[in-house]
Symmetry: C2
Subunit: 338 residues, 2 copies
């Protein structure tokens, strides 16, 4: 525990490689992330790995650090674990590297590290190595976290290039909540409703889909660039056309309202615990049923189909039965949402 550190703030010496850094690492990071591999304290963790593994990295710069439904710590774990899960990989080993601004509250840092430790329990992944840097005041904005991760691939054929004509497109829940929650926090808005980020670890639900032998063709969490980015990448990588029914896409009233107010498209907004699946059409209802059993996925829905028409494009069919292309987002979207 960090009782001797509380009420204090991070000093440059906490990143200097000497006594103070050792104490911070032991009293905070080792204490919260404790496991035998981390405790070995070598230059690198020793892992016993066999066969196909997924390896991913993400840096988190979200502002504000605390928002409705999560914080940068929860996000840093869920984000990297989800990148592994989306490859059909069981998340196993994570690294944690922090860049802290001098003067940052050790109380807040402790809250964030505990939030990371709590979120790790959702997947069973462990932090096995780390790095701590401190930069002078004004050289960073509070705290940045990088997490990289390794996971054992259980389903090797899931790929953005594997979306197949005849597939159904499923979204796991209502979209845009993370982007909207960050926007709300940043603008100081308080809605009467309880709009929260969707930030969540997706491995438990992916594990169920894999256990049920759902033949997943493609799977991707819709983070920066939202649903639009994922579908456009798939259409190009798989050389198919994707048609989406706008009326089928679940969007909460709160997210719709914020989009109208600020001129965003819900389909471009970032999510941090929402994923898109491409599965054979005759499997889609079965997959949906498995997903809807999960608290996080009650609103999972089939939103589109895959064809060999308008290859490389995503077509949005509006509620008025008109059609338009859904493009890859461009320009200045919300910065620092993850």
């Amino acid at each position: 525990m960090v009782d001797t550190l509380k009420d204090k703030s991070i000093q440059l010496s906490h990143g200097g490689g000497g006594k103070e850094m050792n104490k911070l690492i032991r009293d905070l990071f080792f204490a919260e992330f404790d496991n035998p591999i981390l405790r070995s304290e070598e230059d690198a963790a020793k892992l016993d790995l066999h066969g196909a593994n997924a390896f991913t990295t993400d840096s988190f710069t979200v502002s504000p650090l605390f928002f409705a439904g999560g914080d940068i710590g929860k996000l840093a774990i869920a984000g990297t674990v989800n990148d592994l899960a989306m490859m059909g990989a069981e998340p196993q080993y994570l690294s944690c590297s922090v860049i802290i601004e001098e003067g940052f509250s050790i109380k807040d840092l402790t809250t964030i590290v505990r939030s990371m430790a709590k979120e790790l329990k959702q997947s069973g992944a462990r932090i096995v190595c780390g790095d701590t840097k401190v930069v002078p005041k004004g050289c960073a904005d509070g705290l940045f976290i990088n997490t990289s991760g390794i996971g054992r691939i259980l389903r090797p054929n899931i790929s953005a290039a594997n979306v197949t004509v005849g597939d159904a497109i499923i979204v796991s829940r209502d979209i845009g909540c993370h982007g909207a929650a960050i926007l709300m926090a940043r603008e100081g808005l308080t809605l009467e409703s309880a709009l929260q980020s969707d930030c969540a670890t997706l491995w438990p639900i992916v594990e169920q889909l894999i256990a049920a032998n759902i033949p997943i063709h493609a799977m991707r969490d819709a983070t920066r660039g939202g649903l639009s980015a994922v579908l456009n990448e798939w259409a190009i990588a798989s050389n198919v056309g994707i048609t989406v029914n706008e009326a089928s896409i679940p969007v909460s009233d709160e997210v719709k309202g914020l989009c109208e107010l600020y001129g965003f498209e819900a389909m471009d907004l970032a999510n941090e615990g929402t994923f898109i699946l491409a599965v054979p059409n005759d499997i889609a209802l079965g997959a949906l049923e498995i997903m809807q059993r999960f608290g996080h996925c009650e609103h999972a829905a089939i939103i589109g189909t895959v064809s060999d028409e308008l290859v490389g494009k995503v077509v949005l069919r509006t509620p008025w039965n008109t059609k338009r292309y859904l493009d890859l987002p461009q320009g200045e979207l919300l910065p620092r949402i993850c």
Copy 2:
């Protein structure tokens, strides 16, 4: 190539997850780091791994970004590759995650990414996954890079806890050059001599030591906290006493001069291409001979011995034959040296 991007600066949209980000990633990172695994463009890289692997992470925040003997890009590759090499692991797969301040010069970014690509050739490691974040002006200082790495462990018993009574302690070259070069760059000093950072990839020399079957007990690059930090960690982790002959420690006149001027100890200064070895005493001269054949290690020297006296402590024997404890550094050392 990034010809269409040159003379331009990084915009928030380069981190937005849409068209601009895709273009930056393809035209710069993919172009320079090109390899089949990276090109797959999934959420995570797919790796085939077998047996004992080392996994490490480092974030680089060095200031200034360019210094005599290197830049943040070279440092980010050498630093992570060296952490793997120090575990007796062949560096294989690296991630590259950047946090870029809005307005950062794309020309400088290109120089840095090319410097990374060049340094990768020293070990044969490949960048297989990455992440790009852009934060608004004032929220970061130019550029931060995180590299995490995976390598196949060829010698499993190298450990800070494996230093043995009777071992000799070897340092691979003259110490303190990186810290001194950063200090010099930051203070705007220009010495007549060519003081340069020691920043270098150590795998080629470690590979030779392994190939020669040198029974390495412990091996560590002396980064933050310098030689003092490594030796103190070893003395505690291995429950031994380490005695070092100050006169045997190679220190250049330039580093000595800067230390006198600024009140630093060369033994506390950071290195980025200098490592310490503990090997059985009767092997030490053989190891030294192998090392001295390498351009980077002409000044390699045996600097100390390991005993069962004053366990957990590092004793420095001065040129006047007095003794003092060499402590773990503390307080504000040079910030942002790596």
